[in-house]
Subunit: 187 residues, 2 copies
Amino acid sequence: MTSAAVSKEDVLDRLAKVFRDQGYEAASLSRLAKASGLGKASLYYHFPNGKQEMALAVIERAEMLFSEQILQPLRSGDAPAQRIAQFLRNLDTYYCNGEESCLLGVFAMTAVPEEFEQYIVSGLKRWIDELSAVLEEAGLLRKMALGRAETAVCWIEGALLVSRGTKSTKPFKQMLSQLKAFLLHDL
Amino acid sequence: MTSAAVSKEDVLDRLAKVFRDQGYEAASLSRLAKASGLGKASLYYHFPNGKQEMALAVIERAEMLFSEQILQPLRSGDAPAQRIAQFLRNLDTYYCNGEESCLLGVFAMTAVPEEFEQYIVSGLKRWIDELSAVLEEAGLLRKMALGRAETAVCWIEGALLVSRGTKSTKPFKQMLSQLKAFLLHDL
DNA sequence: GTCTATACACCGATAGAC
DNA sequence: GTCTATCGGTGTATAGAC
């Protein structure tokens, strides 16, 4: 990994895929080593606290990427309706048309170390809050905006889950096609 | 477990709780034994194929209970709107106000043995189809009904996930309070 | 920085007494 | 039917060579 060919970001992205696809407990060091292209001992060189540190680094990178690619565009200078439309396109890219799972969603649904839980809570809340802010700007009362944003996040997470469960990206695509109307109706 | 005090159903319900709360891989035989009140070897007496058989029995019991408590009332003789309202009350009971996870949802999100996947696919699809049938009866075109039912199941699963992730039953309660209007609007 | 080799705990699973 | 004891394998984690 010294060579720039495989950067720390590359390693984190490969580890992330294992955690997203398998969940925390099922992501064994053997699988993580294989996916990252490093030996187990090398992983411990980069993450001295082992699997837990790997997963935390993966969570932090995921929150950074999610913030950059999904949340920050929500704060641009465009009209709210435009920002919502862009938000949906960005979701489509981020989750690969519904083929990728949400790391926070996967960790929320299964056993993880206690230290992770605050990341999950705050990650989901931040998502809801940022979306709610746009809806408020579009003219919705705070309470309505929060409720609608919360519903949207539930819908997105549920669509990812059902898409994965039914081995079809249709639920995700359908959600994307209807979410804008839901978020902006009566506006 | 010979005594009627702890029936096979009791054991399955206790095992189910472990699988729902931890996911398949994290549900170790030690935890399953402790939760069931039986030793590991006793579990193997009742489930000769081990953990996989336990999980399959748990899935099958969950589908039976879900069918009885949630899906069959959807086929009663009442008016569609009444049936939907009852469906929501039954969901509230089944998922303990949003405090319990959906077994299929948990298994859908993480690594499980290949044999499970058809149960997950068909369980989710059946849920969508039964709900869709009621909406069709209420006057919706087949295609619309299917789309709306799929959205509803995504919403429910997502609300359970977000409720668990944020350690609050509010998303689940909010979903319950709004789903009827969503399912029946323009009807 | 990466590796091979290894330590030790826990995993799923079984044998055999009761 | 349930238990204790134990198996072989894999899990996470480390030591030490290179």
